[in-house]
């Protein structure tokens, strides 16, 4: 197992490097640059800007300088669009925000989703099943960009209960709507996957044996069925967790949280190369890490799996 983890981590390094080079090249292939604007800059002003940010170097040298900065100094460079801040600062400011609402939304989605899915499977074709399926389909078809403005309308304008947006680490009332809006569709998917996986497991031999031994139904479900039923859920959760904690552009836009989800999309549209690279690396590294964690969890849950 340890050997496996080390091997996986060793592969992660060239994977990340490849990601960096590919993103860098693709980004520079896109038309326009960080300083392309409606009011075309005089050539000399543009030249000064390019010189300041090293954009006049050949591409290979830019990549080299960038990787060197990241690896040796852990310096992700300056933002081209937010000249007062470095990419490190932008991520340090925005990531804790998305990490907070993303983790909470993840917990909410997993707890509610697994519970709904399990209940639905246990009460297969009962009213609870139809209710759970109904709720999760409803949550799935109501995308968060529709839900977010509705939440603001109801809880801010009509009920005057919650602030309509913004962010504060000390005041959880700012967290509620982002968490609800972000978690619902994931919750619905988790509920559906749990339900179908659970139904399959509940029909399997070891469950029949457990029931034949006279084991109480709640023990059968919780101890013998739930664990194997979680396998497909967990492989779904790995990448989902990463995408939740690295933020959602929709949540960031509608609730003005200042998270990096919007910063990521903006950086691509603004050609803010350094910010885009910084967040790409962050998302890439986290994805690699959590895929590894999922694989380890797999082995722990299913003793048949050996690496």
């Amino acid at each position: 197992m340890l050997g496996y983890v080390i091997r996986r981590l060793a592969i992660a390094i060239p994977t990340l490097l490849l990601l960096i080079v590919l993103s860098f090249v693709l980004m520079h292939l896109a038309p326009g640059g960080p300083f392309t604007q409606e009011r075309a800059l005089p050539p000399q002003v543009l030249a000064n800007l390019n010189a300041k940010y090293g954009l006049d170097d050949p591409l290979w040298r830019q990549i080299w300088n960038y990787v060197h900065g990241v690896v040796v100094h852990f310096d992700f460079g300056p933002s081209f669009v937010y000249p007062d801040r470095t990419v490190n600062q932008l991520i340090a400011d925005g990531f804790p925000v998305t990490l907070t609402y993303g983790s909470l939304a993840f917990l909410a989605a997993v707890t509610v989703g697994v519970a709904l899915g399990t209940l639905a499977a246990v009460r297969h074709n009962g009213w609870l099943d139809y209710l759970a399926v109904g709720v999760s389909i409803g949550a799935q078809v109501l995308p968060n960009f529709v839900m977010a403005p509705i939440l603001v309308l109801v809880f801010t304008l009509w009920l005057r209960l919650l602030p309509g947006g913004g962010w504060s680490f000390s005041d959880p009332s700012f967290w509620i709507m982002p968490v609800v809006a972000l978690s619902t569709s994931y919750m619905a998917s988790i509920a559906r996957i749990t339900r179908s996986s659970m139904l399959e497991v509940l029909g399997s031999d070891h469950v029949r044996t457990a029931r034949a031994k006279g084991m109480p139904e709640h023990r059968v479900v919780l101890h013998h069925a739930l664990r194997p039923a979680m396998l497909p859920v967990i492989s779904y959760l790995g990448p989902v967790f990463v995408s939740m904690i690295t933020g959602s552009v929709v949540i960031d836009i509608y609730f003005s949280t200042g998270g990096i989800g919007k910063a990521f999309v903006d950086s691509a549209l603004n050609r803010d190369y350094a910010v885009m690279m910084g967040i790409t690396i962050l998302v890439g590294a986290l994805t690699i890490l959590f895929n590894l964690l999922v694989d380890i969890l797999y082995a722990w849950i299913d003793p048949k799996i050996r690496y």
Binding site: A30, P31, T36, Y82, T86, T156
Partner: protein
């Protein structure tokens, strides 16, 4: 350096006190003097030399103060400067600064302006707005930006702590109007050098404006509070100003209605409803920007557009009344000139097209196209490029429909912003959406665009037009020259002008002092106050 002009025949001393808006008799002030306004996006920078956008300028105007300020109608009033002299040849301005202090207690000196302006043109600063000092015609700005001269050769110097001399390369009629622009604000040398790029962070930033920076969370909010050391602090009523970012305009409106914001832009198409429901809150203010479809008449452009008759027909066929009254619905006006109608001193020529009915225009358009050899049997095929945006899309679809019956086939080309800009600047388009906003309240800010050496993405060129604009720089009375220039644009149609902007906002009636007659929409929080509700 030559010696100071002593033969100042033209001595203009502005003796006016800075006109702070004051609560009127009988008005009761609210206990909490706060003003919370909507920001569409994050404030990118608080460095006056690096700022490029309107929302950034709005904040900088509170944190810093330039030589002059704008009043509620767009006129210039004293700011950091108390008075100025203009030399007879109009090439040298000498400003006398008032006694004022930075928020750290240091005196505001002429040297602070010299430092700030040199910093803007210094290639090491790499300011995106370095061109603004070229536009102001400050001596040597162009050469310094190009790296041919050191920054200390800029035509600006401190004669003493209270006297600033600015020398220009050419008489510049709009020079004074540029002095309230954020790029010209002074910056505190000691603070900038101590903190580097981080000097604009809360805690570091030192300004000479009526407000100081409390906090700034990128993409969330920015909070300013009254600066007790400001020279006119006695007349500043507002205590706290907060800009709140809401990226979605509709959510912004909801939050305004919930009382979280005192001012928000009205989303397109909602003005008629809101002005009925809240007549005391929905306002439409002329805003000095113009919207146009630019024709590419360069070598890379389509042959059809090189024919002036085709360009005229396209302009005639555009039903601007439908665009402003049915699509935009916010008090915008149909544009028959490039210069915004409300620009100070601008006299629009009597455009024939403005007085025609749309039917007459369409008939004329058909006739012109037929003359040029086009018609329903031999349609003109063109692409219309615009950047992704709901309103641009609506307008482009409308234009496509207006032109269709004339025998013009339009392919719509919806592209990402950077692609749009890149293609326009490399003449890789047929027709493209474009908008221009005034840098200062004078017609040349618009008209310079179509000069042969102007931004002019369609590469239209006209010798008489260039000469008029060149002459206007030294003319006593510029109005007839600008009028003639607009006549040339109307005849030659390098672009179809579509509409003149209006700023359509909801404003909390308890907030007083927001200027509604200044086309640049510059506002000063020091003039605002909040009434008890």
């Amino acid at each position: 350096m030559t010696k100071l002009f002593t033969t100042t025949a033209l001595l203009i001393v502005m003796a006016l006190p800075a006109s702070a808006v004051q609560p009127a008799e009988g008005e009761t002030l609210a206990e909490s003097q706060t003003y919370t306004y909507w920001l569409l996006d994050a404030i990118k920078t608080l460095d006056p030399a690096k700022n490029t956008d309107v929302e950034g300028s709005d904040v900088l105007r509170q944190l810093f103060e330039g030589l002059l300020n704008e009043d509620g109608t767009g006129g210039m009033v004293p700011g950091a400067a108390e008075s100025y002299d203009e030399s007879e040849d109009r090439l040298t301005y000498t400003f006398t600064l008032r006694d004022a202090r930075w928020s750290n207690g240091d005196p505001v000196t002429a040297g602070d302006f010299v430092y700030a302006w040199r910093r803007v043109v210094d290639p090491r600063t790499a300011s995106e707005y370095a061109w603004f000092l070229e536009l102001m015609n400050i001596r040597n700005a162009t050469q310094i930006i190009a790296g041919q001269l050191p920054p200390d050769q800029l035509g600006v110097r401190a004669i003493d702590d209270k006297t600033l001399e600015v020398r220009l390369t050419a008489p510049t009629p709009f020079f004074l109007k540029t002095l309230a622009h954020a790029t010209t604000y002074p910056v505190p040398q000691r603070v900038v050098e101590e903190h580097g790029d981080a000097w604009t962070q809360p805690g570091n930033l030192v300004g000479n404006g009526a407000f100081t920076l409390d906090s700034h969370t990128l993409g969330v909010d920015i909070t300013l509070s009254r600066n007790p050391d400001y020279w006119d602090a006695a007349n500043v009523v507002m205590q706290t100003v907060r800009g709140v970012t809401v990226n979605d305009n509709n959510v912004g409106l909801t939050r305004y209605l919930a009382g979280e914001l005192d001012r928000v832009q009205i989303p397109a198409g909602q003005y008629p409803r809101l002005s009925q429901e809240h007549p005391d809150q929905a306002v439409s203010i002329p805003y000095a920007c113009s919207y146009a479809y630019v024709f590419n008449v360069s070598d890379k452009g389509p042959a059809a557009l090189k024919d002036v008759r085709v360009r005229q027909a396209l302009s005639l066929g555009l039903n601007r009344d439908i665009i402003v009254n049915q699509v935009l619905q916010g008090g915008q006006k149909p544009a028959y000139s490039w210069t915004h109608w409300a620009i100070d001193g601008f006299q629009a020529p009597d455009a024939e097209i403005a007085s025609m009915t749309q039917e007459e225009r369409s008939d004329r358009a058909r006739a012109l196209l037929a003359e040029a050899g086009y018609g329903p049997d031999n349609p003109v095929s063109l692409t219309l490029q615009y950047n992704m945006d709901e309103n641009h899309k609506k307008l482009a679809i409308a234009a496509q429909q207006f032109w269709k019956p004339l025998g013009v086939k339009i392919t719509l080309n919806n592209v990402e912003w950077k692609v749009h800009t890149d293609r326009m600047q490399s003449q890789d388009f047929d027709m493209a959406r474009y908008a221009w906003c005034a840098d200062y309240n004078e017609a040349s800010t618009f008209l310079d665009w179509f000069r042969t050496d102007g931004y002019n993405s369609g590469k239209w060129s006209n010798a008489e037009y260039d000469r008029l604009l060149a002459d206007s720089k030294t003319a006593e009375d510029t109005a007839p020259l600008y009028k003639r220039a607009e006549e040339i644009l109307a005849a030659e149609v390098p672009a179809a002008f579509v509409y003149h902007y209006a700023k359509v906002d909801m404003i909390n009636p308890a907030i007083r002092g927001i200027p509604t007659r200044n086309v640049t929409n510059s506002w000063y929080a020091k003039d605002l106050y909040r009434l008890a509700e």
